[in-house]
Amino acid sequence: MIEMQLESVRVSLMTNSQVVILREVEGKRRLPIFVGKPEGDAITLHLNGIVAPRPLTHDLATSILKSLEADVSHVLISDLRKQHFYALLVLHPAGDEEEEITLDARPSDAIALAVRLGCPIFADERVLEEAGVEPVELSGAPDKEDLGAFSDFISSLDLSDLDKDK
């Protein structure tokens, strides 16, 4: 199990879908997970400290878990099958460290609850190996060729009448 932290929630402007990016706490790998809009919103609102006038579904889930004195130890992104991520909510009943309850959840719900309960988020090593991505490191000055589009654009500009604008 590898501990992850929530790096960002990104919105695709084209499709309205949202992606949660988890980042390895001790490493560079990122795990992008597509989530539904309501779940993405539930995560973002909480992270931005926005308190909705009425409890959102995940706020209700959190207050139910707290009222029942459940001790949520962590959430785990446990599996990836057929492009679907699976997650588990791992908790102990009130005053019972011995008994461990694991609940099947979607990663989006697990993460929305983890940020509210302040519990750690883990990912299974195998899942990270399969779906984790490492950011590409850029070193030194950019290649001339990479800037080709910009040079072409600049050379197409007619700058001769730049100061004649009045």
């Binding site: 539904g36 809009k37 309501p38 779940e39 006038p53 009425r54 409890p55 579904t57 995940h58 209700l60 889930a61 207050s63 139910i64 878990l65 009222s67 029942l68 459940a70 679907h84 699976y86 909510l89 908790l91 009943p93 009130a94 309850i101 609940l103 099947d104 959840a105 979607r106 719900d109």
Partner: protein, 164 residues
């Protein structure tokens, strides 16, 4: 407290609004409550017994309540202030203690239909905001319903129907 059941979940075709209609079990009174799209879907999927491959948020909540040895006694739509409905989810813990938890009606109803517990509405809320269907004579209603068809029929030119 008035016991109600979910009569229907309706969709406004313009915009993403949904409305859940609660019906008084003992009389012809209906209480409409505007709810969000996600919650409406969650209620509808459960009422139509649609099994999804992955648990929805309300499924997870119900799983957690059960796994912790608690039960949902009932849910209650207890107030309406500034055009916002308020509800409570009433749980009984493993030790027999009752807990009342603040909720939106949509979430409370989505939980209630999953555990099959009673749904109640406060007497005053029901008295002030429930609708009774308008009484209309059956014949009058029928005439009105057929108006569009009559209008359409009268626009048809049937003269050349057999000239083929």
């Amino acid at each position: 407290m008035v016991e109600v059941k979910v009569d229907s979940v309706r969709v406004n075709l313009v915009g993403s609004h949904r409305v859940v209609i609660l019906k008084d079990l003992n009389s012809e009174r209906y209480l409409p409550i505007w709810i969000g799209q996600a919650e409406a879907e969650s209620i509808t999927l459960q009422l139509t017994n649609t099994k999804l491959p992955r648990p929805l948020t309300h499924d997870l909540i119900v799983d957690a309540i059960r796994a912790l040895g608690a039960t949902v006694r009932y849910v209650l739509v207890n107030d309406l202030r500034d055009e916002t409905f308020y509800a409570r989810v009433v749980l009984r813990t493993r030790d027999g203690k009752d807990l009342s938890i603040d909720s939106r009606p949509s979430d409370a109803i989505a939980i209630a239909v999953r555990v099959d517990c009673p749904i109640y509405v406060d007497d005053d809320v029901m008295a002030q905001h429930a609708h009774k269907p308008e009484e209309e004579s059956a014949e009058e209603q029928q005439e009105e319903d057929l108006g569009a068809f009559k209008d359409f029929l009268s626009t048809l030119d049937l003269d050349d129907l057999d000239k083929k």
